[in-house]
Amino acid sequence: MLGRVAPGVCAQVTMVVNHQQNRNMATLKSISLRLKSVKNIQKITQSMKMVSAAKYTRAERDLKAARPYGEGSVIFYDRAEVTPPEDDPKQLYIAMTSDRGLCGAVHTSVSKVIRNKLQEPGADNIKVICVGDKSRSFLQRLYGKHIISVCNEIGRLPPTFKDAATIANAILTSGYEFGSGKIVYNKFRSVVSYEQSDLPLFSLKSIESAPKLATYDSLDSDVMQSYMEFSLSSMIFYALKEGACSEQSARMTSMDNASKNAGEMIDKLTLTFNRTRQAVITRELIEIISGAAALE
């Protein structure tokens, strides 16, 4: 919400400043009001930065533990050379975002990847699951018919395996028989950078037709089914962790920037405020003196 308010504040402030330069009017009150509100905004952004810094350290620690886990869950698909089936065009995309904004472009970049996919020809076979409200609000208006389900309440607390299992369960019980798909998420690289990445999703059928599956011993469909379900939730778990860490780090940076911008704005406003105050005093003096002079 603040992000939307901030540009408005900006426009009004420049207006006040211009106003000042044009006619030396006493808008002392309006400037002091504006100054106060910008100071409050700065306080908010600063404390948000502090909060996300604390959350970020925790998310990064969690992510370190989740990395081998996530890598381990995709190794099998690599080694067995599982490929998406050519005769099944049905695809499922999972957008890993969260409910909360004010964190730079983390959510929009994930949603954009999916939007670009949906703009390509043959998009009728693509369905989307939105994890987090942000991707939903981005995609809903134009691509509402592609969305099969939405998960809320992501991002307030650090993601747990149970969250991942719930999402996986929702996917498996959605009744949508996809041939292949992708989990689109933000991969955390460092405090200042993250990139969009994806994890592959395969249906049981495409795994069964993988060329190298025959080298794997003693497989039955029950084992495969359970294996797939568990690996789906571990991949989602991993993507959630990566997303949470990227989000917190991005929020930290963007809130830092916002505090800096607010600081600049405060400096400018203070200057204008003092100048106006001086002008008002001078004008009052002139009025008194000229009044006295007229009486003589």
Binding site: A66, P68, F230
Partner: protein, 132 residues
């Protein structure tokens, strides 16, 4: 052989070379030695024993998860939750078991019953592992 053994809460081994891994699976408990035939399996609640290269034995309790043995002899054991055996508390496990059992008996529908049955199974295994 390179073992990756990770759980939602902790990473125990990350591509570390070990001698042998014993895992409990739904198709029976089995040991994995280097050059094991590639396979997939599903973990059942129980104790995973890792024999490290220096002969040290590491016992870790797992609740559920997957085992993957690949053709390059790398092994991935991914658990939903895992804890070293010494961290298990027998009394607490006993308590959890009786609670799960009473839930199982009072379960109203099939789904709740199945969930309670899983809880009973896990709690039983924890008690077994903790008292061993």
């Amino acid at each position: 052989m390179a073992l990756t053994f990770a759980a939602g809460n902790k990473v125990f081994y990350d591509k570390q070379a070990v001698k042998q891994v014993d895992v409990p699976s739904f198709s029976g408990a089995f040991g994995i030695l280097p050059k094991h035939v590639p396979t997939l399996a599903v973990l059942r609640p129980g104790v995973v024993t890792v024999l490290e290269n220096d002969g040290k034995q590491n016992k870790i309790f797992v609740s559920s998860g997957t085992i993957t043995v690949n053709d390059d002899s790398s092994v991935q054991v991914l658990a939903e939750e895992a804890h070293p055996l010494e961290n298990l508390d027998r009394a607490a496990a006993q308590e959890a078991l009786s609670k799960a059992q009473s839930e199982f008996n009072s379960a109203a529908n099939e789904k709740a019953k199945a969930e309670a049955a899983i809880a009973v199974e896990v709690a039983e295994e924890i008690v077994k592992a903790a008292s061993a």
